[in-house]
């Protein structure tokens, strides 16, 4: 086990690194270190041994925290590149090629993709808008900051929820840059939705039938927005698209720590569930993700442009083709 991979795994476990893009980039940096220090053992070929090594790292990371869809796609890309290495390359050349491929992937599919998404999304923000966002998505944060830099006059409503309270981090960064923000809890979303003109959401992944797989609570916000006829814009890089189809939130999900929902940190007086945690008949369900049906989504903004949710399979088809040929 390479120390860099071990470190990243522990960071996932403790929750120091979270968010689709951050996890993917950290994983790739760790893999780059591992590839740099790698040397082919005697009697083995680089391609097969390295693939087996990477697979063992991946199983370790899964033990720490289940993979997100974006990480799954990224690993498929890496294995594909390893398998396509020409046999004539020497070990150092092969390693250098792999590392530059990984750098290219991070650059094109994550960093530049975010910039393209921001460029498209700010055209949909007008002066006088009230924008609502849920949780903390890195892309949505970049969009809001960029629109503010361009001088557009708008207000932001940040909706947050327990147990992660991720919205507070986003809120801090926005207020520091001078945006006027409102902070509220997801229980109040139907009250606040009357004033909202646009909803911007991030996504962990978008599935082939247009369903958006994102932090738990996103589906509620999208549904309420739909009921109030507020357009919902989901911002997601194309490498996070997946061929899977999911109809509800239960069939594929991740379970978080049940203690997190039974205890409220710092409020000892309302810890009514103290001592109840190990009961047989009580199941504390802390779901991490949920699935938002495509009817509630007005538009998906990707690095390929603004598309309706029904066009996701077209992008999956085109993207796979490009990624297999490159």
């Amino acid at each position: 086990m390479h120390p860099a991979v071990y470190k990243v795994g522990l960071q996932y476990l403790s929750g120091d690194i979270w968010g689709g893009n951050a996890r993917c980039i950290a994983m790739f940096q760790a893999f780059k270190e591992a590839i740099k220090d790698y040397s082919t053992p005697p009697e083995k070929t680089l391609i097969r041994d390295l693939t087996a090594r990477i697979s063992s790292y991946v199983s370790f990371l899964i033990e720490c925290r289940p993979l997100s869809n974006s990480m799954g796609n990224a690993i498929k890309f890496l294995k594909n590149r390893i398998a396509k290495l020409p046999l004539v390359l020497s070990e150092s050349e092969a390693k250098a090629t792999l590392m530059s491929d990984v750098d290219r992937f991070i650059n094109e599919k994550i960093i530049i993709a975010e910039k393209v998404i921001v460029k498209h999304a700010v055209t949909k923000i007008r002066d006088g808008d009230v924008l609502l966002t849920y949780g903390a998505s890195s892309v949505v944060e970049m969009i809001l900051l960029h629109a503010h830099e361009l001088g557009k006059q708008f207000r932001v409503v940040v909706v947050d929820s327990r147990p992660k309270l991720e919205g507070q981090l986003l809120l801090r960064r926005l207020v520091r840059k001078g945006l006027s923000c409102t902070y509220t809890h997801v229980n109040a979303v139907s009250c606040i939705m009357q004033e909202v003109t646009r909803v911007f959401l991030g996504a962990s992944s978008v599935l082939s039938n247009g369903t958006v797989y994102s932090r738990v609570g996103t589906a509620c916000v999208a549904m309420v927005a739909h009921a109030f006829r507020v357009p919902v814009l989901v911002c997601c890089e194309a490498y996070k698209f997946h061929e899977r189809v999911q109809l509800d939130s239960i069939c594929f999900n991740e379970l978080g720590n049940p203690e997190a929902i039974s205890k409220v940190h710092g409020r000892e007086d309302i810890n009514y569930l103290d001592g109840f945690v190990n009961q047989e008949k009580l199941q504390l369900l802390n779901l991490v993700y949920d699935a938002t049906p495509s009817d509630y989504i007005s538009m998906i903004i990707t690095d390929y442009g603004m598309i309706p949710p029904t066009s996701v399979p077209v992008i999956v088809r085109e993207y796979r083709r490009e990624h297999l040929w490159s």
Partner: protein, 393 residues
């Protein structure tokens, strides 16, 4: 044909105060297009609707005022026009617009098709010697056409699609310039022909959907829908048409005129009577000014209302649109697009404190549309984005 109203006087005074000097290069009535292009930069009125009005000879009051002012002006711009016509090497953009206006004068030709023909002519007449230069010239010509009327979706879409279609051949870099240029011209002509024939193809595809004894509701004067009706009448189908009156352009009256010539039973309704008559309607037909990426359409004001009523009463809504109208806009709601203002004559003077909603078009979201008839087939609205992705990526 001449619509006199009290506001004619008010409008006439207002526009003469603006001090517009149109170019009277020929007699008033034969070149409404030149007057329109002069009018365009001064008032906010969309040139697209002015052209439609001009083709169908609805003389609006401010056009009359312009025409009057034109007779008083000398032929100061006559010589200018001559110079512009001679200098082909110098004013390239000018001659594209000229060509465009020449094509546009035929009332049967859609604006985007005229633009496509003009761009094809621009390639043919170009004096460039390298591929790069030719592409740059073409881009400039296309930009000048688009800026001529920034509110027309089909014009922008048509120019963009032409550029993509024509420059898409990958083998262009490897051939010598002349054969590459002739290939470009070939593709351009082909695109022009496809666009011209688009209406016939749409008319043929839609015949299956018009059955004997059906009642069709139409809104707005769409030449494509007219073609569909003509073909159906030629195929001896028995159907009747309900036409909305389509204020303020009186499009319904003109459409019903055309249909009456074909011996198709027509009934005119006022715009507010649509919900009342929706029970007896079997299907609704619209044309489109533009089809956007979400699959929705931009069409004359009133389309969204009718689509909503039809949807709530479970009547199918069909849209007939040529494929060059597919645009890369994505609209979230009505106000998301650049407004195309249209002069609305209420027939009585409006008090100065009262605002008038002068937008000429609205956006109908895709969930209210059943099928789109295009020259590429009969898809549901969600396929538009697929087509655009395949073309642009």
């Amino acid at each position: 044909m001449w619509w006199r109203s009290a506001s004619f006087i008010l409008d006439g005074q207002q526009h003469q105060n603006d001090g517009v000097a149109p170019n009277p290069e020929s007699a008033l009535l034969s070149s409404p297009s030149m007057a329109d292009s002069a009018l365009n930069p001064k008032s906010n009125v969309s040139a697209y609707y002015q052209t439609r009005a001009a083709h169908h000879a609805v003389i609006t009051s401010d056009w009359l005022a312009q025409a009057q002012a034109a007779t008083d002006d000398g032929d100061s711009l006559g010589s200018e026009a001559q110079i512009g016509g001679k200098g082909e090497g110098s004013g390239k953009a000018f001659s594209v617009i000229d060509e465009f206006n020449n094509w546009r004068k035929q009332p049967d030709l859609a604006e985007a098709v005229a633009a496509i023909r003009a761009l094809a002519a621009a390639i043919r007449k170009s004096e460039a010697t390298t591929m790069m230069e030719l592409e740059i010239e073409l881009k400039k010509a296309s930009d000048s056409l688009k800026s001529w009327d920034a509110t027309s979706i089909s014009l922008t879409a048509g120019c963009d699609l032409f550029m993509r279609y024509v420059t898409r051949t990958s083998a262009l870099e490897y051939e010598d310039f002349n054969s590459a240029k002739s290939r470009l011209i070939e593709r351009a002509e082909k695109f022009g022909e496809i666009s011209c024939k688009a209406r016939r193809i749409i008319a043929m595809l839609s015949q299956d959907f018009i059955f004997d004894g059906c009642t069709i509701l139409v809104h707005g004067f769409s030449r494509v829908v007219l073609e569909v009706m003509k073909t159906a009448a030629e195929n001896k189908k028995l159907f009747r048409v309900l036409c909305t009156k389509g204020r303020p352009d009186r499009t319904g009256l003109r459409f019903s005129n055309e249909l009456a010539k074909l011996d198709v039973p027509v009934k005119l309704l006022i715009d507010s009577a649509v919900a009342y008559t929706m029970d007896e309607v079997d299907m609704v037909f619209f044309g489109a000014d533009g089809v956007v990426e979400s699959g929705g359409i931009i069409n004359m004001m009133g389309t969204f209302q009718i689509a909503l009523v039809a949807h709530s009463m479970n009547k199918p809504v069909y849209v007939a649109a040529e494929s060059y109208k597919f645009a890369r806009h994505y609209l979230l709601n009505q106000k998301d697009m650049a407004p195309a203002l249209r002069p609305i004559d209420f027939g009585v003077p409006i008090p100065s404190k009262v605002e008038v909603e002068t937008s000429g078009r609205d956006y109908t979201p895709p969930q209210y549309l059943t099928l789109l008839f295009t020259d590429l087939g009969v898809p549901t609205p969600s396929v538009i984005s697929d087509e655009l992705i395949q073309l642009y990526l």
